[in-house]
Amino acid sequence: MKWLLRTREVFRAFYAKYSTSVDRLARFALSLVAYLAVFYFAGYNATLSKPIFAVALALVSAFLPTSSTAVITALLLAIEFASVSIEIPVITLILFALILLLYFVFRAETAWLLVFTMVACLFGVSPAVLPMALLISPVDVIVLAFGVLIYGLVAAVRKDVSVFTSGSLTLGGRVNLLLTDILSDPRFLLILIGIVCASLLICIVRTSKRNYSGLIAIVLGDLLYTLLLVLGGFFLDVTISIPGLLIGLVLNAVFSFILLFVVRSLDYKRTEEVRFEDDDYFYFVKAVPKTVIRATERKESVITSSNPETINVDDLFHAHNDTREEKP
């Protein structure tokens, strides 16, 4: 386990030095994947749905606030859906406007969750959303639900795109068909219920004051999600790929461990450059955060009358750190 501690310190030092670039790269990666997903799953406008536009928009998004990705995704979806039928982009923009007006007005910093959830569900890896519950509060589960709703909308349009474009239905008929497709799709309902319930459980258990609450939260969340999907698939007659689900859960567990160990357990400080002056001098100060990487292993020996015992101090440090990490 010592290599994990060293790896964590390496990440910490790297982030401390290059935090701005790492944040921009992360925004670029999420935006690129989101826009490519929109072009792949909802690419009804041949002129717009080109990878070069996705790259260009992702480059722009990297330099804008995180919430801009959600706004650009909404606009892209609206433009794509306009090629299918006029009422679908209106419904899409109404959904995004509702989440913006009712929730993002308080917490705009969670807008990336909406995009992440939509992308994860579109690519069929909805369990990947569960580790995000380690980073959010229970109220933010609303954003996850909206992300799944947007996925449901995209899936419904994809299912009946030929009917929408054929012109055989009236305006009312198309809206009715779209709403029926979304609300009566058992797979969408299963994913929505599974993600909301599992994420809520993870959020609530994570904030409890017991040791290893993060790990317990993820295990319970995964179990609940699996149970809901399997039972729901049985009762709603939905085919669930068990190998795919198991692989998704294993990856989910690995990703959660990385999140718990590398992201949540540390206070990531950044290198800061400040300038100030007084009557005598101008000061240009660079503050670099300290990192701790043990060069050598320390061992202490506790000798009792019967059995001499060797304690590895690094393991003690790791055990203490685990206890400290679990505090809210």
Partner: protein
């Protein structure tokens, strides 16, 4: 000669200002009531627009499901009252929630600023001490 204690304190103060320029320092620049009122008005305005969108969508769906709808004056008044009651419930909910939310945000910002003020007080004391020593 560079006073290292002073540089340390000023660096801490400058780092805090950089970090909280758009955060706690901006929040504390408002009085608590003004901050809550300003953001509450924004939230209530957003909630009103969202409510209008939802009601408009529901009415549109009802109109699509029925080719014609005939209401007498009494029914229209009742319908209007129902919408008004729901609107009042939404406003009360968002009023209460935003008052709590922005109130606690202002309190947390003031706690952060207290640490900054301690640094500034320490700087003032250092400056006075230096002046007193230079006068001697």
């Amino acid at each position: 000669m560079v006073d290292t204690d002073k540089v340390y304190l000023m660096t801490k103060a400058a780092m805090f200002e950089n970090k909280e320029k758009k955060g706690a320092m901006k929040i504390v620049s408002y009085r608590r009531q003004d901050y809550i009122l300003y953001h509450m008005l924004l939230v209530l305005f957003s909630a009103t627009i969202a409510f209008c969108i939802i009601v408009g969508t529901i009415l549109f769906l009802i109109l699509m499901a029925n080719d014609t709808i005939v209401l007498n004056v009494g029914e229209m008044v009742v319908f209007g009252l129902v919408i008004a009651v729901f609107y009042a419930i939404v406003l009360i909910f968002y009023y209460t929630f935003s008052h709590q939310f922005y109130g606690s945000r202002h309190v947390k910002a003031r706690q952060k600023i207290r640490q900054y003020l301690e640094i500034m007080n320490a700087l003032d004391e250092l400056e006075e001490k230096r002046k007193a020593e230079s006068e001697k």
